[in-house]
C-alpha cells in the first residue's frame, strides 16, 4: 500500500476559509460532506454523470466526486448554501420555490448552481440553451419543465446578472 500520510488543504467554501488534513485518495465530495459538514453537496453516482455533487470551483461547475480534495487546495468553492445570504433565499431559489421546480429536492442544489453559473456568462439564455447547460444534472421527479420555467423566469426578472 502507498503512502498513508495526510496532506493539509486550504480552500474557501462560500467565502469562508476552511482547512482539513486529507488523504490523497479522499474525494472533494467526501471531505466537503464528512469533514466540513456540507451535506448539501451530495453523492449520486461517483461517475460525474448525475450532477448531485455539483459545486462551483472558481465560479465554474465541477463534479466534486471527480476531484481529489487535494486538488481544491488554494481554490474557491461555492455550494448552494452560498447562494442565499443572511437567511434570505437568492431570487433564483425563490423562483424555484414558486415554480414547483423541486420535488424530492435531491438534484436541486446542482440545478441551482449550474443555472446560476450559466446566468453569470449569459444573463438571458434561451430555453434551449438552459436545457443544454443542465443536461448533466439529472432529475427523476420533475420532467425538467418547472426547472426550466424557474430559470427562465428568474432570468427575465433581470436580477440574474453578476452578483
Amino acid at each position: 500500500m502507498s503512502s498513508p500520510t495526510r496532506l493539509p488543504v486550504t480552500f474557501t467554501v462560500n467565502g469562508e476559509q476552511r482547512e482539513a488534513w486529507v488523504f490523497p485518495h479522499d474525494s472533494l465530495l467526501d471531505v466537503l460532506r464528512d469533514v466540513l459538514g456540507h451535506h448539501e453537496v451530495r453523492y449520486g453516482c461517483g461517475e460525474g454523470v448525475c450532477g448531485t455533487c455539483t459545486v462551483l470551483l472558481d465560479g465554474e461547475p465541477v463534479s466534486a466526486c471527480l476531484l481529489l480534495a487535494v486538488q481544491a487546495d488554494g481554490h474557491s468553492l461555492l455550494t448552494v448554501r452560498g447562494l442565499s445570504s443572511g437567511g434570505e433565499l437568492h431570487p433564483l431559489q425563490a423562483s424555484f420555490l414558486r415554480n414547483g421546480a423541486a420535488q424530492c429536492g435531491f438534484c436541486t442544489p446542482g440545478m441551482l448552481l449550474t443555472a446560476w453559473a450559466l446566468l453569470q456568462r449569459d444573463p438571458r439564455p434561451s430555453r434551449e440553451r438552459i436545457r443544454r447547460e443542465l443536461v448533466g444534472n439529472l432529475c427523476r421527479c420533475t420532467g425538467y419543465t418547472k426547472i426550466l420555467d424557474a430559470v427562465e423566469e428568474h432570468a427575465a426578472e433581470g436580477i440574474g446578472g453578476h452578483d
Binding site: 461517483g46 420535488q103 443536461v135
Partner: protein, 771 residues
C-alpha cells in the same frame, strides 16, 4: 359526525386548489434538508454489504478471516450471525402464492448476482470496501434459469425447490372462448417489456444507532416505517426495541418500499453497539436492488365490425427474479387492469409471477397496471387499423362509464372521464407536425389508461393522523406517512389548514416514525392522499367540531354562522366584527376540559376476493388519463424525436395544482424513459453494465415539455373528492410512443424499449405487423 362543517363543494377553498410553496420545499431549495446519508454520530462506523458475484451457485466455503484481520474492521457478519435469518414479507400471504423463504444473508445458496452474503462494519468507507474484497468465497455453480418463459418449461432449473411459479391469478367473466369464436375479428398480439431501474437520485442510505433506552433506531430513506416489526423479528427482539424513522427521500418510486439497508444496518448496529452508516454504491443499486417486472403479454381481442369489444383474453408472465418480494401483488394489479378502461363482457386475464435467477423484481410506480397499458393500448390501435376505424372512435365506443362492471365483477362507482382526458390531450397537441426533412416521417399517437389508487381492499387498509391545537394557536400534525418528495407531508398540512383556517406556516408536521407517529401505512399504491389525506381530514374535522361550541359561546353566535379563517374563528360574512383567536380558544378549551387534540383514523372500504372464481373486490377506485404525442422518425437511422407531448388526467380534485402538474410531468418523463431507452441489460444473470452512465434515463435536452392538463371530476374517494395521481402518469407513454411510431412509419414495435436499432429493424422488416 355530520358533514355540515366541511367546505361545501360550491364554496371556494382557501388553500386547497392553491399551490403554496411551503414546508419541506423551502428547505430543499435552500439546501438545508438532511437526507438519510446526511447524519453523523460520534464513533460512527461505515457499513457495507458483501454481494455474491455469481447468479446461481452453492456457497461451498466462505473465509472471512482476512477481512476480520484488516486494521479498522470492527465486524464481519455472515448468515450464522443473523438471529432469525428470514425476511417475512408481511404484505402478501393467504392467496395461493408459494411460501418461499428469503434469507437476510445467503447461507448456502446464491440465487442472483448481487445477493447479500456478508456484512462489514469498519472505521471508514475505504476500509470497509477493502475488507469486502478480502471476503473469500468458493462457489459451486448451479444451473440457473434467466428467462421467465424458460422457467415455466418442464425440466427447467428450479430457483426454489418449491417450484418456479410463485403465484398464478385468473380473473374471468362470461364465456371468453365462445365469444372469441363468434367475434367478427380477433386481433392477436404479443408484447414484451424490459427490466428497468427506479434510478432515484438519492441512493439507498441510512444511519442506525442504539439510543439511550437500548432501542435499535434506524434513520433511513424508506417508504414504510412499519418494517420495524420485520427488523425486530430478524434481530429476535420485541417490536418495541426497534424504531424506524423515515427521512424525506430523494425519490422512492417503489424502490424504497421493501427494506433496502434496514436489516443490514440493524444487524451491524446490534452487533457493534456503535452507530453505523450505510450508503449503497450506485452501481450496486443498479445491479442488485429491486426492479420492475419484465412482462410477456399475449392478447387476443375479439371485436364486432363496429369496433365494440366482445371478448378479451390476456396471458401475462412476469419475471419475479429470485425472491417473492411484492411480486404477487404486482401481478394481481396487472391481472385486474389487463384490459384497460374498456368494457369487456367476456374476459379472461391470467397472470403468473415466475422465479428466475435474476435480481428480484418488486414495486415500481405503476405496479403491474403500468406494463399492461403497453399491451391493451396497442391492441386497441390494431383493432382500429384492421377495421379501418379511427383509433379515437374505437376507444369511445368501448370506454367504461360509471356504473359499469369491470372484469372482477365490481361496479365502478365514480365518474370515468377517460373520454374527456383523450379529447383534451389531443387538443393540446394542436396541428400535426410536418417532417423536418427528406427521409423523416411524422405521426401522432395516444394511449388511455386506468391505474388503481389505494391498496387492494381485502387488505383492510387504514391510516391514522394526530392533530393538536397548540397554546399559541398553531397546529401540530403527527402522521406515520413517509415523504417521497411529492409533497406527501405538505399536503396533509394543506388539508388541515383548509379545515381549521390556520396559516400554512403555522402548521407543523411530524412524519414517519414507527414509535412516535400514528401508523399511516407506507407510501405506495398511490394511497396516501386517499388514506392519510382522509385521516387528517377526519382529525381536523373532529377538532373543529370540538372547538365550534366553545367559539359559539364565546362570541354569542350560532355555530352554523362561524367560519375558521386566518387563525381566528369569526362570524361568516362579518366585516371585522366578532372573532376569537385560536390561541384564546385553546385556552378556553383547556379551562373547560374540552380536548384540543384528536386522533383521526380512516378505514378504507373492505371486501373479499375469491381466487378460484377470479371475482371479487380489488381496488377502491381508479384514476383515468390519456397522453398524446407527435413523433418524428429518421427512417435511415431509426432515431425518434418526440415533437410534442400532452398528458391529461382526472385527479378528482387538485389539492395543490402545481404539485399535480409536477406528478404528471415527472411521471410522463419516467414513462418516456421506459419507452425510449431505459433498460438494465442482464445476460445469463450478469448485469452487463452497472454504470449510471449506461442507464438511459431522460435528461433535460432530448424531450419536449409535457403539456399537463388537470381534469377535476370531483368524484374521487380522497379528501375533497381527490384521486391519487402518483402512479397513473407513468403508464401511458410507452403505448403513446408505440402508437405514434406506427402512425409515422406503418410498422409496430411490440418490445420495449423502442430503441433506434429496434425501430430500424422493424422498418426493414416491413409494415406487416402494424395491422
Amino acid at each position: 359526525m355530520t358533514d355540515t362543517e366541511a367546505p361545501a363543494r360550491q364554496e371556494a377553498f382557501r388553500v386547497v386548489g392553491q399551490s403554496p410553496a411551503h414546508h419541506d420545499f423551502v428547505d430543499k431549495v435552500a439546501g438545508s434538508l438532511l437526507y438519510a446519508a446526511d447524519w453523523q454520530l460520534p464513533g460512527m462506523l461505515h457499513g457495507r454489504v458483501v454481494r455474491a458475484e455469481v447468479a446461481s451457485a452453492r456457497i461451498a466455503a466462505m473465509d472471512t478471516s482476512a477481512a476480520r484481520a484488516l486494521p479498522g474492521v470492527v465486524a464481519v457478519l455472515t448468515a450464522a450471525d443473523v438471529p432469525w435469518n428470514q425476511v417475512v414479507e408481511r404484505a402478501t400471504g393467504g392467496l395461493g402464492e408459494l411460501a418461499v423463504a428469503m434469507p437476510v444473508l445467503a447461507a448456502d445458496r446464491v440465487r442472483y448476482q448481487g445477493e447479500p452474503i456478508a456484512l462489514v462494519a469498519a472505521v471508514s468507507p475505504q476500509v470497509a470496501a477493502e475488507a469486502a474484497e478480502l471476503v473469500d468465497v468458493e462457489y459451486e455453480d448451479l444451473a440457473g434459469v434467466f428467462d421467465a418463459e424458460r422457467a415455466l418449461e418442464p425440466g427447467a432449473p428450479l430457483v426454489h425447490d418449491e417450484g418456479n411459479v410463485l403465484v398464478s391469478w385468473t380473473i374471468a367473466r362470461g364465456e371468453v372462448e365462445a365469444a372469441l369464436a363468434a367475434a367478427d375479428l380477433v386481433v392477436e398480439g404479443e408484447y414484451r417489456t424490459q427490466r428497468v431501474e427506479h434510478a432515484y437520485l438519492e441512493p439507498e442510505a441510512g444511519v442506525g444507532w442504539i439510543d439511550t433506552s437500548g432501542v435499535v433506531t434506524l434513520r433511513v430513506a424508506t417508504q414504510v416505517v412499519e418494517h420495524a416489526a420485520t427488523i425486530a423479528t430478524i434481530l429476535a427482539l420485541p417490536t418495541s426495541r426497534v424504531r424506524v424513522i423515515s427521512t424525506y427521500m430523494g425519490g422512492g418510486f417503489g424502490g424504497k418500499e421493501d427494506m433496502t439497508v434496514e436489516p443490514y444496518l440493524a444487524l451491524l448496529v446490534w452487533r457493534t453497539r456503535r452507530p453505523v452508516r450505510m450508503v449503497w454504491e450506485r452501481q450496486d443499486s443498479i445491479m442488485a436492488s429491486t426492479k420492475r417486472h419484465p412482462f410477456v403479454m399475449r392478447y387476443r381481442t375479439g371485436v364486432r365490425r363496429d369496433g365494440t369489444i366482445v371478448a378479451q383474453d390476456v396471458d401475462i408472465i412476469g419475471d419475479a427474479g429470485a425472491y417473492p418480494y411484492l411480486s404477487p401483488r404486482v401481478l394481481f394489479a396487472a391481472c385486474v387492469t389487463a384490459s384497460g378502461p374498456y368494457r369487456v363482457p367476456n374476459v379472461r386475464h391470467h397472470a403468473r409471477a415466475v422465479f428466475t435467477n435474476n435480481a428480484p423484481t418488486s414495486a415500481f410506480r405503476g405496479f403491474g397496471a403500468m406494463q399492461v397499458t403497453f399491451g391493451y393500448e396497442q391492441q386497441m390501435d390494431r383493432v382500429a387499423a384492421r377495421l379501418g376505424l379511427s383509433p379515437q372512435v374505437v376507444r369511445e365506443r368501448n370506454f367504461l362509464a360509471k356504473g359499469d362492471t369491470i372484469p372482477t365483477g365490481e361496479r365502478l362507482d365514480t365518474a370515468v372521464a377517460a373520454g374527456e382526458c383523450l379529447r383534451r390531450a389531443l387538443e393540446a397537441l394542436g396541428e400535426p407536425a410536418r417532417p423536418s426533412g427528406p427521409g423523416r416521417r411524422v405521426g401522432r399517437g395516444f394511449a388511455v389508461n386506468m391505474q388503481p389508487y389505494g391498496r387492494t381492499v381485502w387488505f383492510r387498509d387504514r391510516a391514522a393522523c394526530w392533530i393538536s391545537l397548540e397554546a399559541d394557536g398553531s397546529l401540530l400534525l403527527r402522521s406515520g406517512v413517509t415523504d417521497l418528495g411529492a409533497g406527501q407531508a405538505a399536503s396533509l398540512a394543506q388539508i388541515a389548514s383548509e379545515v381549521l383556517g390556520v396559516p400554512l406556516w403555522e402548521v407543523g408536521v411530524h412524519i414517519g416514525d414507527s414509535q412516535l407517529t400514528p401508523p399511516a401505512g407506507g407510501t405506495f399504491a398511490t394511497r396516501q392522499l386517499y388514506m392519510s389525506g382522509n385521516a387528517v381530514l377526519a382529525a381536523a374535522r373532529a377538532l373543529r367540531a370540538g372547538l365550534l361550541p366553545v367559539a359559539a359561546e364565546r362570541l354569542g353566535a350560532d355555530p352554523g354562522d362561524l367560519a375558521f379563517e386566518d387563525g381566528v374563528v369569526r362570524e361568516r360574512g362579518g366585516d371585522g366584527g366578532r372573532s376569537v383567536r385560536l390561541a384564546e380558544l385553546a385556552a378556553a378549551c383547556q379551562r373547560r376540559g374540552v380536548p384540543t387534540e384528536h386522533l383521526g383514523t380512516w378505514h378504507a372500504e373492505t371486501g373479499t376476493f375469491d381466487p378460484a372464481s377470479g371475482q371479487g373486490a380489488s381496488f377502491p377506485d381508479y384514476t383515468f388519463g390519456a397522453h398524446a404525442a407527435d413523433v418524428e422518425v429518421d427512417m435511415e437511422t431509426g432515431e425518434l424525436r418526440v415533437l410534442g407531448y400532452a398528458a391529461a388526467h382526472d385527479v378528482g380534485r387538485a389539492i395543490n395544482p402545481l404539485r399535480v402538474v409536477g406528478q404528471i410531468q415527472g411521471g410522463a418523463y419516467q414513462g418516456l424513459g421506459y419507452a425510449l431507452g431505459e433498460e438494465v441489460v442482464v445476460e445469463e444473470g450478469q448485469t452487463m453494465s452497472t454504470l449510471l452512465a449506461s442507464y438511459l434515463m431522460p435528461n433535460s435536452a432530448d424531450l419536449p415539455d409535457v403539456k399537463a392538463i388537470i381534469i377535476e371530476s370531483g368524484e374521487g374517494k380522497g379528501p375533497f373528492g381527490a384521486r391519487g395521481i402518483g402512479e397513473p402518469t407513468i403508464g401511458n407513454p410507452a403505448a403513446t410512443i408505440a402508437n405514434a411510431v406506427t402512425a409515422a412509419t406503418g410498422v409496430r414495435v411490440t418490445q420495449l424499449p423502442i430503441t433506434p436499432e429496434r425501430l430500424l429493424a422493424a422498418i426493414d422488416a416491413g409494415g406487416g405487423d402494424a395491422r
